[in-house]
């Protein structure tokens, strides 16, 4: 059994999600290869070789892998798919965009966002916004899987796997990246943060969101998150959204401020170790999942909290 993990990276560094995905591969068992497809991506390939459990890193270095389009990456994976029992990618926007495309061309099902490995062909995955957990068994020759990163710890980096160059596939030239606007932040990434301060519609405006929550996040070294309502209202960019259809997070501490706790939001954060809810409505559903609930006006409570921590 040999597993191919498709690395997510920015050509220099691996994304942390790749390390969780290798951990899931190790749970399945067998030989683990990592594919690094990029442009001037030797640094990322070298980092992949340090990941525990990996035997071989395959590197395809070509200019047309710069923008990581699903069309070009799929062509490359298809040219190299023979012999792999499993193909894994993280369940990030990168992996979700890519994995189904590969599965369809292999004529196999794709198994989305696994949170558990029962055996080499049987996996656990949440459905209905995490209100149910399905155990599914695949009858296909190759299992194409995306991995929910919060369900698997990252692997350590004490390895020296061999690195092999592989030929790039042709440029499909079907898709051109014309612009990329990444949110710049000194704060930790939402997916990797130990503490998240998250704000909802209750904050009332983008100005309030920043004025109230940034000092708290600064004090706690936290990442900032948001509900869909806060993103839709333009308080913060789209990549702050936590939930069923946004980011799935599981930090040590999640502080929900002015968030009601709709099932779609809970789906994204209820695996957090400790949840704090600050809401003026004592009946808000967020209190049903909160370890510590504080009923009060966030405009009074949050500044007090900033004063009391640290």
């Amino acid at each position: 059994m040999t597993i191919l993990v498709i690395a997510e990276h920015d050509h220099q560094q691996l994304k942390a999600a790749t390390l969780n995905t290798v951990a899931a591969a190790a749970r399945i068992g067998g030989d683990i290869h990592v594919l690094v497809a990029g442009s001037n991506c030797q640094a990322a390939a070298q980092e992949a070789a340090t990941l525990n459990g990996v035997s071989t890193v395959k590197v395809a270095d070509a200019a047309h892998y710069q923008s990581q389009t699903a069309e070009n990456l799929t062509a490359l994976v298809m040219a190299n798919a023979a012999g792999y029992s499993h193909i894994l990618a993280p369940a990030t926007t990168f992996g979700k965009n890519l994995a189904p495309r590969i599965a369809a061309l292999l004529d196999v099902a794709q198994i989305s966002e696994i949170t558990g490995v029962e055996s080499a062909d049987t996996f656990v995955r949440p459905i209905y916004a995490g209100n149910a957990l399905a155990t599914v068994k695949s009858a296909d020759q190759t299992k194409v899987i995306t991995v929910r990163t919060t369900a698997f710890d990252t692997v350590n980096r004490e390895n020296a796997a061999k690195i092999e160059s592989i030929a790039a596939a042709n440029d499909t030239a079907q898709s051109t990246l014309t612009h990329r606007e990444l949110t710049k932040s000194e704060r930790p990434e939402l997916g990797a943060a130990k503490i998240i301060v998250s704000g909802g519609r209750g904050l009332g405006s983008g100005e309030n969101y920043h004025k109230l929550l940034e000092p708290l996040a600064d004090k706690l070294g936290a990442a900032l998150g948001a509900s869909r309502a806060a993103v839709d209202a333009g308080f913060v960019p789209n990549d702050y959204q936590v939930g069923q259809t946004g980011k799935i997070v599981a930090p040590q501490l999640y502080i929900a401020v002015g968030i009601s706790g709709a099932i779609q939001h809970l789906a994204g954060m209820k695996e957090s170790k400790v949840i704090v809810a600050i809401n003026k409505d004592p009946d808000a559903p967020i209190f049903q999942v909160a370890d510590y609930g504080l009923v009060g006006d966030l405009f009074e409570v949050v500044p007090q909290l900033v004063g009391a921590v640290g």
């Binding site: 890519l98 794709q110 989305s112 898709s175 014309t178 869909r228 990549d239 259809t245 501490l253 609930g293």
Partner: protein
Amino acid sequence: MKILVPVKRVVDYNVKVRVKADGTGVDLANVKMSMNPFDEIAIEEAVRLKEAGIATEVIAVSCGVAACQETLRTAMAIGADRGILVDCGDTEIQPLAVAKLLKALCDKEQPQLVICGKQAIDDDANQTGQMLAALQGWPQATFASKVVIAGGKATVTREIDGGLETLEINLPAVVSTDLRLNEPRYATLPNIMKAKKKPLDTVKPAELGVDVTPRLSTLKVAEPARRSPGIRVADVAELVNKLKNEAKVI
């Protein structure tokens, strides 16, 4: 150009589903069903493209039980011109099978654009559009928050983990919708009435030459572990004390 929009009938997003006691699935008896919210956004986008004179026809397609006709009528009330039900009876239809059915319909109808939802809120798969694009050999732009069609190309802004990116893709193509693409209109009563008279065809998977046999079998469906009930704190001082000394997270 024609636009094809796949619409799925799913449990309404306000319903909190319950797992059946025997662990075979979730209880869908007497539960409100609606169009998958991302598919409403997809229909709205297609209808706007028609209103802008860019699309000539919007075709809604739903695969599943006969009751998917209601979902198609909703799509037509928003503004789709006609509907196609792929009647699969009670067979569970997984994303790969849907993609193959849609491929057969694309071969027949020759749309220049397929706009689907990014994710069905029941299976949370997030696969069908990408699979269809692969089977057709078409480019894809998933998680769209803005779509501009001009000169045989689509320029699509996508919501990605780090922020936003813009892709220019050749047509025909598949686009999948994210929440911020548009705000779907409410269907007015006159439009609901009009939708009843719009054409709705029914085909069977076999007529499209597609084998829809599921590839994944569900062995069990379980309830997730429940969080143990928390406590209410009286004030900020108590909260900080608990976080420091009890939970030890700050």
